[in-house]
């Protein structure tokens, strides 16, 4: 017999030319279902005007990022049991630091443009990917094996970043992580992009990005590593690549 909970879904609503407000929906849910399922149920059976994004439902596409009880989560893999309890409220809001298009859907264009600018790679040879337990030495032909990049461009990191909150110009954790992934040695033209006022030095080591990333990108570590790459390259240039 599956467990049944009664929860109140507290949903952020904002349509064009209207003031933002919250709507409440009382739902009966299975607590081992996911927050995305609850939002879908509210949409299907209560209010067809709720606007939200979802696609793969298995943390690969990055479409369903939202703030659940104020914290950035990928709602397709966030089980209801983890974020609320029977009889309680579940608050769902759109991501921060992106313009809201409608209700829970935000305009992710700025993120995609930045990823394109740094040339973020969606697929890379496994010899260049920072995997958890690499062999002590790669064989010469191991680079034929390719791997999807960890970053699913869901935008949770940018929503959580306190610096991204101050300006949309800041490159942000995901693009900086993608630049690090490329590497300044491989693509030296990235240096002037990341060593700029809106680039790597804007990070203030809050580490909020890594805390919310659902895909093991660890953008904070990558930004720190990118810093050492930038310092390294600048020192080399100063001393004439000695």
């Amino acid at each position: 017999m599956t467990e049944k909970w009664k929860i109140t879904l507290h949903v952020y609503r904002q349509k064009e030319n209207e003031a933002p407000h919250f709507d409440n929906f009382t739902l009966e849910v299975n607590p081992d279902e996911y927050v995305l399922d609850a939002v879908e149920r509210a949409w299907a059976f209560h209010d067809r005007t709720i606007c939200f994004r979802h696609a793969c439902h298995h943390s690969t596409c990055g479409a369903c990022g939202m703030r659940v009880n104020g914290v950035e989560k990928l709602t397709c893999i966030t089980s209801i049991r983890d974020v609320t309890h029977n009889g309680a409220t579940l608050q769902v809001e759109p991501l921060r630091n992106f313009p809201v298009v409608s209700d829970l859907a935000v305009d992710m264009g700025s993120l995609y443009r930045k990823m394109e600018t740094v040339g973020g790679r969606a697929v890379l040879p496994v010899t260049e990917a920072e995997i958890e337990k690499p062999p002590s030495k790669w064989e010469a032909d191991d680079s034929q094996y390719i791997r999807l990049s960890d970053c699913i461009e869901c935008g949770l990191c940018i929503s959580a970043c306190p610096v991204a909150a101050t300006t949309p110009e800041y490159l942000g954790p995901a693009p900086l992580a993608a630049a690090q992934d490329q590497g300044l040695k491989r693509k030296p033209e990235l240096l002037s992009i990341v060593d700029s006022e809106d680039g790597v030095w804007r990070c203030h080591s809050a580490f909020e990005c890594t805390a919310v990333c659902p895909s093991f990108v660890d953008p904070a570590r990558r930004i720190m590593n990118l810093r050492t790459q930038v310092v390294d390259m600048r020192l080399r240039k100063l001393f004439g690549k000695a």
């Binding site: 101050t166 909020e208 660890d218 904070a220």
Partner: protein, 128 residues
């Protein structure tokens, strides 16, 4: 697009200090910034007050009498506390910026803050 670039946004300044939905690192950032501002203010105050030294024994010793005021005493305590919090947090930033301890930055922060609290308690006892 160019007109919307770099719109001055002093108002969003306050969002740094409102750690809604934030975790250890976000707290660390806010704390570091608050102590930085406080210490900068103290620095210039301190420099100004020291000019009294140049005016001779009379004015300086008179000023020293003022510092017995409990308000000032609290301020002095706050400055030393801020120095430890800011300094230890700064060490954490330097370590992580050069790749040390990045996977354990949360523990680094908590560890350093415990050290800071410990040190602050010690010098508070000595001060009073």
């Amino acid at each position: 697009m160019d007109q919307t670039r770099h719109q001055p946004s002093a108002g969003k300044f306050w969002s740094w200090f409102i750690p809604v939905g934030r975790q250890a690192g976000g707290w660390a950032f806010a704390l570091n910034r608050v102590t930085a501002i406080g210490l900068t203010f103290y620095l210039f105050l301190h420099l100004a007050v020291l000019s009294l030294l140049a005016q001779g024994p009379g004015s300086y010793d008179k000023f020293l009498a003022l510092t017995e005021n409990p308000f000032i005493k609290f301020g002095e305590w706050a400055v030393v506390a801020a120095v430890f919090l800011h300094g230890l947090n700064g060490i954490r930033i330097i370590l992580t910026s050069f790749g040390v301890g990045v996977t354990r930055q949360k523990q680094l922060f908590y560890g350093f803050m415990i050290v800071a609290v410990f040190v602050i308690l010690i010098f508070t006892a000595r001060m009073y």
